[in-house]
């Protein structure tokens, strides 16, 4: 039960997401594990305006998403073709993912409204999202809907989770 949210992309407002509890983990793949009120979390979704953007070509795109309650740092890796992490996978697949990531990176511009999904990670002690995918939302109403969604989910789901140990 407590792991129900572990593979779910939780929708947390920035202030909430950034204040997740970080615990060092023995696992090598995820050196830090994250939890909210004792509920372990690994994936998150956020939506907001791109307020900063830093591109290292073929390495990564760092950007921050401001959802009105805070800024979530996000990193979109663009090093698929050189990273040993992907070397085990089918090169065609890697190329496809790399192309898609490049395209998504090009879409992330300052001021646009983006929806980001990814893994919750930490960089120098700060929670960030390692982006799986990012899409640009054209409808500004999506932001309001996201807020309401976050409130609703917090009320109906995250806050009512049985607290972990």
């Amino acid at each position: 039960m407590s792991n129900q949210l572990y593979n779910t992309h939780v929708k947390l407002l920035a202030f909430d997401l950034l204040s997740l509890t970080q615990t060092p983990s023995p696992s090598s793949s995820d050196p830090i594990s994250f939890s909210r009120r004792g509920t372990p979390l690994s994936r998150a979704e956020t939506l907001g305006t791109v307020t900063s953007r830093e591109l290292k070509p073929h390495k990564f795109l760092k950007f921050t998403v401001d959802d009105g309650t805070g800024c979530v740092p996000c990193v979109l890796w663009l090093n698929h073709l050189s990273s040993p992490y992907f070397s085990r996978r089918n090169p065609a697949d890697v190329r496809l993912i790399a192309d898609l990531a490049e395209y998504q990176a090009s879409e992330v511009k300052l001021g646009v409204l983006v929806r980001v999904r990814g893994r919750i990670t930490a960089y120098r002690g700060t929670v960030q999202i390692t982006v799986s995918n990012v899409i640009v939302e054209r409808d500004p109403n999506m932001e309001i809907l996201h807020w309401l969604d976050c409130i609703k989910l917090a009320r109906k789901c995250y806050d009512v989770m049985p607290h972990g140990k």
Partner: protein, 1369 residues
Amino acid sequence: MEGGKMVSISELVQGRRPLTATSTLHSPPSTSSHTPPISSSSSFPNSNLPPSTPAGGVTAPRILTPLNHPSYLIGTLALPSYLHSTPALPCCSHSTCFVFSDASSTVCCDVLHLDLRIIGNRIRVLSWNFIPSKCGGFLEIIRWSFLDSTARLSRCSNLDAFPLVLGSSSDSKDGSKGRYSLRGVLESVSPVSVIPCSVVTRTSKSGSGTNFSTPSNLRGFLAQIMVCECELCCSKEGLMSLDDPRKGLRGHCFTKPQILYFCGSGSSWHPLFTKLIGNVICISHLKKKLVFIGKEESQLMYVTTGKTVLRVLSMANQELPHKEAVIKGMGECGLYSGIITGIYMQGMVINLDERVWLLITDRLLNPPHSLRVGALISVRNIHFLNPKFSWTEMLILGSCFKTSIIVECFSPLETGCHKVSQSQSLLGKFIDSLAFSARLWVLLVVSCFRKKFCGILTEKEILGSKHREGLVQVFARSHLPSSVFQYRYGVFMEFCKHDSCGCGTEPNYDQLKLVAPISNLVHHCEAMWMKNQLEGDCETMVNNNEFSQLSCGGRSHGLPITRILPSEAIGVILLGSLKISPSGRLQLIDATGCIDVVIPDLPSDCNSNSIYEVNDYSLVMEGMPDHLDHFGLVEMEPFSCRSIFESSPLVREISLTMYVYFHLRKSSLQKFLVHPHMNLKDNLKEPEDGRFHMLHVTHKFPVLQKFQKDQVVSDGLSMLVEAVVLPWDLFLSGKNPTKVSKDQKKEPMELYNSRNYHEYVSFKRCKIDHASSRLLSSGLTDKSSVAGMGLCGHLSDCSSANKQYPVEIPCLACCRSGCLVSSGSLYCTEAALKFGAGCNLGALKVLLEFKSESFFKYQLLQIGGYYITKHQNKDLFCNHRDFDYVRGGKFLITSGTTIWSLSFSYDEIFHYTDPSFDPALVTCPLHNSQQTELLLQRSTDNCHEMCSDIHLHLPADLKNELDVDFTVLEKDLIKTAPKLEEVANVPLCIETAMTASMQSFQTDDSAFLLPEGNLVSLQGQVLAVHNLNHTSLDAHSSNENYGDVRQLRLSRGVTWSTCIHVLMDHHIVSIFGGLSEHAYPTGFGSGVVATFHRILELGGQNRLMLTPVSFIAINSMKLNNDQYNAECSNPVNVSELYNFVPLDAVSSCLISELIQCLECKPMQFHCRIVAVHFLVLEKNRKSQPKVPCRLSVDIPLASFVLDDGSSSCCCWANAERAATLLRLHEEFPLKAFGSSSWKLKGIGIDNACRTTIYHLDKLLKKHGRITVKNYGSISDSSSQDLMFSVGSNDLLSSSDENLLKFIILNACIGTFWTIIGDVMDSEAVGQLEEHVPKMGMTMHSMQSIWAKEVSYVNPLTEARNMVEELLNR
């Protein structure tokens, strides 16, 4: 001797009544031993009666009035020139008729079953028809008898021998002059022709033999006799023995053609010989001559002498039965018998048996008088032809100089006889110089033109005269290929060397197209529509509405069907002038009717005085499928020759929406002719030099509904356009770029260099006051010339230069025609400076009023377009400034005002010196050959410079400044949606109409007195147009499921009649309106992309309202006639339509709540796809003929992993829902596919906008069935491990695999979905598990749902619902 009353000819002539006297036919002949075989009009079997529609008539001809008492005529039948004593018959100047005369008068006559002995003898005519004509009348002798027994004796001693010249005898003393005889079958007879010649007479009395040459015209005709070449026949003895008829004709083979020339007095035998064709005759006492028939051609022929004697040896039908030939229609010669069912074009075209068309165009052919509708005729030596016409099939009988027409039975009908005009116009000669089918085509053109331009052009202008070519000839010459023109050699040559003259040969040429009167076209298309409907031909009928589920308040609507006919399928050319109808629609009209037209690139020099020819067009018909009003329509063939020749108008109410579209650029539209009456000045379209005002059109008001009922009063009709006079005036220096025009010298302008503008701009930005601006400019300007500046009335008032400073931007103007390349300058006017400094730009807003004579100009203007109009003294656009920013000034645009469209580009214009540059030649890339999408409006973004009349090249270095200026202008002035009260502030008439309309919006709820909201403009694709009525609105308003019912709750008497569903940025909006149908542009309907200008927002919920000032402009239109195009060019998300599913009935639910909730009612989820679990793609084997635009991709089963933030679940879906979730209907994101995209075969410009399903369809065509399984992560889209298996034996290539992977990845990075689904219980999951293990998949333990409906989330609605939900708890 016989009972009855004797009637004299003069009585008949004076009576002027068509009569028949056939009572004797029914009594046995009493006395005459030699009675012609009974053959009369009354012997027609009823089935052979001609049809009810006669030549040129509308009503059926009556049967000839029979005399109520037996009567007879007594007189003499003679060959034409025999009766020297009688005055020449006026109607038979080149008489080739028999004549009948009694003591009182003489008339032309024809006689059935001629007996040679009748000629020159007094006979009693027992049965006859009399047809009056202008020159007296015409007698048709059916039955006769000799008056007395003595007359039965021949004039010659030999019973069967007839001398050609009266009084001569066969006992020739001068054997040397006529010692030849011919015996054989008379095969053909030429028409009588006149040869101008001089007769050389040798006086034999004087020994020296002096020659006298006297000029005279030699009348004569040729006959061809097939003679036998046997020894007997060739010997003189043999020929003599032939005189004995008892020797018979058996054993002879008449195969060798010999030419006989009947000249001089012998020419009068023409009517007789015509009737003898096919008989074996013997002609003796002939001379033999070598006659030069061409410059180098000579022909041996026998020539009649004064002593020539004719003997008829046998009647053809007795001994020489003619063969029934098979008609091939390759131009071969033969015999045709049939009943005349119509005579058209003054007798040049004769319809036989309703299916065969006999052409008698040569005036020499002179057909007999008795050639009347209803007569049975036989035509000998006629050419059979099957013409290559694109619109119809028929058999043509082409007459040449060998052709003879014999009336076998007279017509019993009261129909007149036609005489081909003897005077030959240029047109007549032109027609005769053509191949037969081309002749018929020209005659059809003549008939069409006379109908089309009746009352518009005079007959002389259409047909031409003896010395001047008419419109028909000009048109025909331009369309006929040179191969159809044939050299005419003259009667002798063409008769004697018939086969080598190419007579009857049809050259190879492209199909000729009919020029149909527009009413015929309209009826033809309607008939085609009906025919397709009756035959249930769904393949060609396109139901272009895939949004069939869109509903207005639960009421279902019939879906209109669109059918598009390309011009090739119709096979006719359109010809007419362009007019604007009183309702403001552009139409192609002729005298017979009109049809709406859509011309996306309508040139501004279009005017109603020109006649345009349209070859390449498409005709679009739209109507309801149950529209089957086919009464009298299917039977009608509007493109048949009969319909074209007949003058009866086709009167029928048109009930289909029909319009034609074509492009100017494809040169389908040619200006064919300018009316001769028109004033050429109207056509002056090149702006020369001088000063021009620049306008920017901000809105067009629709035709005022108030006046529509009163179309007769055109004075009251006007159209209004709202425009902004830009603060820039354009000066052109004319054709010589270096020359400054005189006008400009008169109005001295300060010429600033471009640097000045920079300074101007900079000071404008800084909002420097006048004083400092003066300082800035003073160093550059010459004050004295500024003082003399006479820009316009207002500016000339400026007494000093220090008030305002015009700014000049040099530019180069190019005309669309390419003829004019002119240098020019843009000057900032005084008013503009004020605006530039931040004044209210709205002050320059003006209303242009167009009266009916300048509707064309209204039509040309487009919202958002830039235009220039020439400055004139006391110009409105100048003078209005005198009013000092009066809002809403109204200016009348007269027919004298020319408006040119304008476009800009930024160039290094001063490097640009090539005057041969022709912008008109640059093809616009928007129009590809496939024409999947019609660009209906001149685009202001893409290739406007190619469509505009004037293109301005501005210096590139000023681009930024000017751009800013225009942007400021647009922001401040143009794009601002005016408030409602502002809109109501347009002139009185609109205001009235608006108020009237507003009053009807009284609502039940007193809180909503009037609809309130902003006026907005939106562009989108029209999905459906529904007609509402009161009941549906009531139903609508009572439908509580609608989110925003209050806004729609309307009282009775509401004028909303239409609901337009428009897809805009993935949302469907509904536009309600009460506009009359005239306010909708031609072609408006589902499928078009249209811009709705100034429509009223009804407060959220995607509902808008058309107001009386709203204007709809069609941007583009997709044609769904072609399956391929429809499939691939329409990246519309079908799921959009589910926005209209009443969602309130379904409660929303989180996935995490599913575990507790096991109710069987459908739930609503808002979620995203994380991964694809399992997918089967198949080629759709079920053909769907009624929906050809659907692709053949079927998804029998798919499962997706969904995540809504609370948990994940497995969503099963199939068919359309699965396709939607896979985003197959969306445009394929080629960019995101990145470097792999080049591998997509055929990717190019055409493919760029194709939907994903198009690419998938191609894959499935190859492999049939593809199964996809995800063995990887189900919580991270990029970690999916997809495995593919295909139905075909082939392996999936790596590029195909990549494409599939990408499609799945693309589905996983989509946005939010609203999914309505059933929670699957254990039983349902169990059923799926039965299938899925077979596929080698393991079921995940997560909760499963079955998707019933899928749509994108409407965030606004959703957020609203969520707020309510959150507030309530």
